[in-house]
Amino acid sequence: MTPAWAKVLIPIVLIAIGAVLVWAFSLAALEGGDRLALIALERVPESGVSNPITSVLLNFRAYDTLLEVAVLLTALLGIWSLGPAAPAFQPASPILGGMIAWVVPLLILSTGYMLWAGGHAPGGAFQAGALLGAAGVTLALGGDASAGLPGETRLRFLSVLGVLVFTAVGVILMALGYGFLTYPEGYAKWLIIFIETAATLSIGVTLAAAYLGGEPRDERTSRSAT
Amino acid sequence: MNFDAFLPAAIVLSSMIPGALIFFLKEESHRLRTVLNMTGALVKLVLVIWMIWGVYDGHSYETRLTLAPGIDLVLSADALSVLFVALSTLLWLVTTIYAIGYLEDSPNRSRFFGFFSLCVSATVGIALSGTLLTFVVFYEILTLATYPLVAHRGTPDAARGAKIYLAYTMGGGALLLVGAIWLQALVGPVEFTQGGILGNAPEEIRGTLVIIFFVLLGGLGVKAALVPLHGWLPQAMVAPAPVSALLHAVAVVKAGAFGIVRVVYDVYGVQFAHSNGLLFALGIIASITIIYGSLMALTQDSLKKRLAYSTVSQVSYIALGASIFGPIATIGGVVHLVHQGLMKITLFFCAGNYAEALGVHKVSEMDGVGKRMPGTSLAFTLGALGMIGIPPVAGFVSKWYLGLGAAEAGANWVLAVLVASSLLNAAYFLPILYKTWFRPTPTQWPAEHPHPGRLEIGGALLWPPLITAALALAAGLFAAAPFTPLEWASLIAEREYGR
């Protein structure tokens, strides 16, 4: 338990740190100027997409994003390694079941839109993936033990698809002489969409599988019995 | 790389490589293990003879490995190192034969012989060290390689002895390390140079240099068993006899004593050490150790313990020789490095034989062993007489030169120490000899293992003490012939004082 003196001391120290932080950030914000904004905005037209954030995520700093998809995969693998999943939820009542049957297709449809919109407006692979994952979670809440996910082999393949496509595109571009993750002129747009599609699928599947927990088994149905 | 630059390294590697290979052998592969051991020992002997010849001719051998800018590992040969290398190589060969016989059918022999070889490699490395850093490196490796040998038996006693041994030597190692680095921080890399390197050190660091000398002495004194740092030596007696032989005659205590000689002559320079009172201090410590060791030896009933305290006393003759200013005493000290080795290894071999054949561990049980084991007892007698300093055994030569040197330097109190210690030596060795030869044989020995052959004990156990005893006798009888330890020690003294 925290001793009494610490209860007093910790807030005081933290407030002092806070004061320094506010001061430092104010100074920094005042002197900061345009930072990378102008450089980035200027190069957006060359990036293959018109949404500046997507340009940064999938072109200027694509390597960050690659590692980020890998982080997501790591989390899923870690969850799988922790043992079997919790038992599935009770099957939903007919009314709820009916609503789920409506909502899930809608979510999947929005996934597609979000993915496409990312190129020029707010949106992109992560937002789309999150929607796809939500579809899976909805199914799971409705009592679907597999959350609509495929069997082990395909599930494993889908969950690594994002990292696979991302890295493979990078390495192939490197081998072709452009450099790792360096899109050749004119192909940037399509390559980005290709990567984003794969990433969306992976992210959606990963989120849903992470929600379920437990290592995938080939006979998914057998789990609901336990 | 030409051969001259490789020879010192080759001498170290000639036992290190077989040692490393031996670890990997199966327990049952006696033959292969013996072949590896003997090949290493013989190759080393050949290389060392080559080197002796070369050094005598004024040839220089140096292996230099740069670890980092300004930090070199240097193995090089001068007269002093060759003396020590020759001693350890010769005695290693003999001890290996003895150990093969002694450990017949005992467990964990691959481990034993592996570390045994590493131990000799480290000793040879110490002998050939050309810089203080190199010396520290091999000095610590020696600690590491001997620890498993002391602990080898695995009894609680052995574990305790090993622990005490380790505590002492690690502490000593730390002191030596600090001293060596301190010196290097003050004057740059310390290469062993005849005549020393501190002769013209600036006045203002002299005080610090004196302190460093005592730090180094503290580190070296542990292995050399200077009082009050000798506590580990009697405890380490739990080790098997060949290990005790090696520890006492060749490796550990000699490494300490050799280090003291190196530091006095080749780092500080005898002139510097003399004029700053370091020699006098060393002489006092050595004298105290000599007397104390002898007194303690008197009171021991355990034969190995008595020999151990005798070692404490005898090894300090070397330090004593180094502490008297003048070439004659130097000859006495340096030659004792070899003589004490020959005599003490003989005594330990014999003690091992008594224990192995008859189960005799104590002085009080030694009545009449001379009749039962005449060969071993002959060797023992020669070694003991040498220790007392009775001519013509080698020990006499050492003491003669020490005394002569002391008289020449006007240090009469050293003469008194020598006389007193010789009397004490006689007091603790002569009763043993008396019991051995003149008391009746008891009806039953403590634990007799009859030997099937016609010898009193296996040949591998009998010949080594006879050989080393003969060598000790020869070193005294033919002291003036070329290539004897004495002649070589004179060469060393000449070169140290030569300029």
Partner: protein, 98 residues
């Protein structure tokens, strides 16, 4: 400028609140929540930095960093929750019994 200051300042406040909560509360699940509050604070601050006035387009780099950061934080949270669940299941007690 005031807007930016308010956003940034509240980000720092959240960061500190999270830190405080992490240090003070032993239950691991509360520590996890605390970290998410801290994360929200950092992301808040970064978003505030991107603001360049009403007329100029925002700096896209901090926005992208925040997006990446959020995904990383979500992944870490998911893994931590799975750890907690595993501890729960093993013992039936909550994950904070130490």
């Amino acid at each position: 400028m005031i807007t930016q200051f308010l956003y940034g300042g509240s980000g720092i406040l959240l960061f500190l609140l999270g830190t405080w909560s992490f240090i003070v509360h032993p239950p691991l699940i509360r520590k996890l929540i605390a970290i998410n509050v801290m994360g929200a604070g950092v992301f808040h601050t970064l978003v505030a930095l991107a603001y360049r006035g009403l007329t100029a387009p925002a700096d896209p780099v901090p926005h992208a960093l925040v997006l990446t950061g959020i995904v990383v934080a979500v992944s870490a949270t998911a893994l931590a929750l799975a750890f907690g669940q595993r501890l729960d299941r093993d013992h039936g007690s909550s994950a904070d019994d130490d």
